[in-house]
């Protein structure tokens, strides 16, 4: 069978059912399209016979529906949280089906960023599964005429052990559905010793689809009659169209029309950037038509933005006293009372996300409502921006979440979904907006460019008695407030406010910087540049004191203690401080462990090789990393081995968690080797993987060993915390191998070869 074309959606869905869902050559219609057929936003869990809460439903045939309300971009969260529900329900994983939630505030927060899905929802989803389990137990007890206290569950059945009677969940679903939903206080969670899945983990629910091409991403969303759109955005942020000539574009076969999208009203937030959209009957025709547009731009105020000059300005600001974020003792007195001081300037450029799937979204405006299918980390933000762009109610924006071909924070910002909705309303047909790779690189929300100034006064043993650190970067808040120039507490906290060393005189500052591009969060965010500065400076001080860098790092971390942030604006990643205190003993432990696991100081290294170490807490997780690097005479680097020790509290899904840290080492390799976005006359100079390279298999670490610390602490983040220590550990290893100190990223800016 070949292509099925021009079938109605309804007919097509019927066909899908008959063919067992997959026909080679057919459109792999997202299952989520079912919802649209009935214009019904209910999930299969909602529709199930027993559905005591939004996360779980039990059918009479024993099928258990579990709702994944977080977005799947590779962290396997779509499996991991449902696995927790299944554990508390004592459900057989083979009988569980996962239902991807639309954007809906009834699930609570759905912005899948900040490495907090498990942390924020662990207790909630445990309760949801345990509630359903208790109702099934009560239904069985009622049927048997025995006290519920005499009944337990085994895998997918309720058991009355004294009589040996058993009833399956499916058989009990109807009776259980007639019972009142128990209050939270009545529900008992399983004891840790009886967990089936939590801590043991499970592979991705989507694994087979992911290796057979059947997984449905935003790029694969389809509606009959849709137009494809490619948009020429203003090359400079805030630019406007002076003149546009679309005559040649309209001559391209397949091009239907062009539409001008209004420029955003500052601040940009998640609004469309504006520009000219070319709509066509295929992606390729839209791309071709767009190339034929002739547009004259008024570039506006950001035309003066030039990365070389901006770097000098940031570094100059970093050398001047600035806003004090945290202070103890008296740094100035200490600096003037000794001549034994040391200082350094550090720099990390703008970084792009470059997820493998460029921005893409399909939207249909019809009868006052919008249905959108999008690879989004934040479907409720889709509702908000589409609602405000179109002047319709948020509830009338139904955002179906597809799989994401990578996200890394970029897909939390739904400007591209708003574009599809705006265009669909204008043409009265479904519109799929497809960004090219060039659009993705040039119109990102970049991780901030940052300059850091570090200064320490040291005692006779080389240990700091005073420490000053000052960072300057255009803040993320600038996308919401055009006047924002200082870092907000939520980003300053990332490896800066919480600098953990035990030093009597300490001052932490932040200088002002104005944004000229959209700044956004990218995997690990401000931790990337802050950890780079702190952990590189630490290594420099160690070498200056002629001490072993690992011993020196442990010395500065000091004895186990809980950091006290009274009087300091320290949000602790939004977590309660008593549940997630900053414990230096945990950072110390992962550091000691990585020393041991990596064979630090004992391992034999080849010619031109070196080891580097760094430790960092981010997203409430403690990580220490040792990187081995080899640098040849030409300055090419190879990373044979990485050891990383992780204390993330309780880990629900260990194998996929290890994969996150393996991936973080690769992501960090990209940041360090070649991550650099620059602007000239306000326009971004990079465009694709040739001039914005990311690590390839031959450049990535050959072997990354991940060790997870057994912990009873509550769960913390795992998606992001691997990146921050990796980058300085690599740079410190390069110093060990070559004697060349890296204070500026990326490495491609430094000649690491013997001849220089």
């Amino acid at each position: 069978m070949s292509a099925i074309e021009n079938v109605s959606r309804r007919g097509f869905l019927k066909g899908l059912g008959a063919a067992g869902a997959l026909v080679v050559g057919a459109y792999y219609t997202p299952k989520i399209l079912h919802r649209y057929e009935s214009d019904d936003v209910r999930t299969d869990a909602d529709n199930a016979t027993l559905h005591p809460n939004v996360f779980v439903g039990v059918e009479t045939d024993g099928t258990v529906w579990i709702v994944a309300h977080r977005s799947e971009m590779g962290t396997v969260i779509r499996t991991t949280l449902p696995l927790v529900v299944a554990d508390e329900l004592d459900a057989d994983w083979k009988r569980v089906k996962i239902d991807q939630a639309i954007g809906d505030p009834r699930y609570g927060d759905q912005n899948t960023d900040g490495s907090h899905s498990v942390r924020s929802f662990f207790d909630i989803v445990r309760l949801s599964g345990a509630t359903a389990r208790l109702m099934l137990i009560r239904a069985a007890a009622q049927r048997w005429g025995v006290p519920a206290s005499e009944c337990q569950t085994d895998l997918h059945v309720v058991v009355h052990s004294s009589s040996g009677r058993r009833l399956g969940y499916g058989e009990l679903a109807t009776a259980a559905s007639k019972l009142p939903v128990p209050k939270k206080e009545e529900v008992q969670l399983k004891a840790k010793s009886t967990w089936r899945y939590i801590g043991k983990g499970m592979t991705s629910y989507d694994l087979t689809d992911l290796v057979t091409g059947k997984a449905v991403y935003g790029m694969d969303a389809h509606l009959d009659g849709m137009l494809f759109a490619s948009i020429e955005h203003p090359p400079v942020l805030g630019g406007k169209i002076k003149t546009v000539d679309n005559a040649d574009a309209l001559k391209v076969t397949g091009v239907a029309q062009t539409i001008v999208i209004d420029p955003f009203k500052p601040p940009p937030a998640f609004q469309p950037l504006g520009g000219v959209a070319v709509l066509a009957d295929s992606t390729w025709a839209a791309f071709q038509g767009r190339k034929k547009l002739k547009i004259e731009w008024d570039n506006g105020l950001n035309e003066t933005y030039d990365s070389d000059q901006y770097k000098k300005d940031l570094q100059e600001t970093a050398r001047k006293s600035a806003k004090v974020i945290r202070s103890q003792g008296d740094v100035d007195v200490a600096f003037t009372s000794t001549t034994n001081t040391f200082e350094g300037d550090y720099y990390v450029p703008l970084l792009a996300h470059a997820s493998m799937e460029p921005m893409v979204a399909l939207a249909e405006f019809k009868d006052g409502k919008v249905h959108a299918w999008a690879p989004t980390q934040n479907p409720q933000a889709v509702q908000a921006i589409v609602s405000s762009e179109l002047g319709i109610r948020k509830e009338d924006v139904i955002c179906h979440v597809t799989l994401l071909g990578g996200g890394f924070g970029r897909k939390s910002k739904p400007d591209y979904v708003a574009e599809a909705a705006v265009l669909s309303r204008k043409v009265g047909r479904p519109v799929k907006v497809v960004w090219t790779r060039e659009d993705d690189i040039k119109f990102d929300y970049y991780n901030a460019v940052a300059a850091m100034y570090m200064k320490a006064a040291v005692d006779s043993k080389g240990r700091p008695v005073a420490w000053l650190q000052r960072s300057v970067f255009p803040p993320i808040t600038s996308i919401f407030d055009v006047n924002a120039v200082y870092g907000d507490p939520g980003h300053l906290q990332q490896g800066w406010t919480d600098m953990p060393y035990d030093i009597p005189n300490l001052r932490i500052e932040n200088g002002a910087a104005k944004a000229h591009v959209r700044i956004g969060w990218l995997r690990s965010v401000a931790n990337i540049y802050h950890a780079f500065a702190v952990q590189t400076f630490t290594d420099e001080l160690a070498h200056r004191a002629k001490r072993d860098p690992a011993d020196y790092l442990l010395d500065l971390i000091g004895q186990p203690r809980t950091l006290n942030f009274s009087g300091v604006d320290y949000p602790n990643y939004g977590a309660a401080y008593d549940a997630y205190p900053w414990e230096t003993g945990r950072l110390r432990r992962v550091t000691e462990m990585v020393v041991e696991k990596s064979g630090w100081g004992k391992r034999k290294l080849g010619k031109g090789a070196g080891l580097g170490i760094a430790a960092h807490r981010s997203f409430l997780t403690y990580v220490a990393t040792v990187v081995e690097v080899e640098v040849n005479d030409q300055g090419d680097i190879r990373i044979p081995r990485v050891d990383t020790v992780v204390d993330a509290g309780l880990v629900v899904n260990p194998e996929v968690t290890k994969a996150q840290f393996e991936g973080a080492a690769v992501f960090g390799t990209s940041v360090a080797r070649s991550g650099e976005i620059t602007a000239k006359s306000g326009a971004i100079e990079q465009s694709n993987f040739d001039n914005y390279p990311v690590a390839r298999i031959n450049e990535a670490p050959y072997q990354t060993n991940v060790y997870l610390v057994e912990s009873d602490a509550p769960p913390a983040g795992v998606g992001e915390p691997g990146v921050p220590p990796f980058v300085p550990a690599l740079c410190n290893a390069i110093y060990a191998a070559t004697g060349k100190r890296i204070r500026e990223l990326p490495l491609s800016r430094t000649n690491l070869g013997k001849q220089s």
């Binding site: 074309e5 992911l210 790029m219 071909g405 996929v656 994969a659 072997q703």
Partner: protein, 154 residues
């Protein structure tokens, strides 16, 4: 159709008489609905669109339809259509995919690599797979899965 280009996709005969510059990628995705082949860069730099032309791995995003007269193209949809390919099995065994978007291309490239180098060394894998980007960073598992598939096929 007089000047239509004739070729096979996954064993099925097709003909094309549109713009001959149209890349195979968009014909597969937009015309046939074979969306397992992905768009990543559009210029042959990332490998997300890798398909087979006979046994060779090619980049569908830079392969014009005009070059396909008589070609036999195979896409991820046909790999494992009658039972999973050993490479797909080891990909599952080693839990290779994270987001998975690049993995169709990685798998197509790995199958082509194993055709030409049934027992690939690390250097062979570096060389054979370097044109396929995985932004999630699953390379270590890709390498392990390729080696395991090579063992299995022996």
């Amino acid at each position: 159709m007089a000047n239509a280009i004739q070729f096979k996709i996954n064993g099925v005969a097709h003909s094309f008489d549109g713009d001959p510059d149209t890349p195979l990628l968009w014909y597969l995705r937009d015309t046939l609905g074979l969306t397992g082949t992905k768009f990543g860069c559009g210029v042959g730099l990332c490998g997300a669109c890798t398909v087979h032309k006979s046994d060779d791995a090619i980049r569908a995003c830079i392969t014009p339809m005009s070059s396909l007269a008589g070609a036999e193209i195979r896409t991820i949809e046909d790999i494992g259509a009658n039972g999973l390919h050993p490479v797909q099995k080891t990909w599952m065994q080693f839990n290779v995919p994270q987001c998975g978007y690049c993995q169709s291309g990685q798998i197509m490239q790995a199958i082509a690599l194993l055709k030409s180098k049934p027992k690939p060394t690390d250097e062979d894998i570096d060389e054979g797979m370097a044109a396929n980007i995985c932004r999630c960073g699953t390379y270590q598992r890709i390498r392990a899965a390729i080696k395991a598939a090579a063992e299995e096929k022996a």
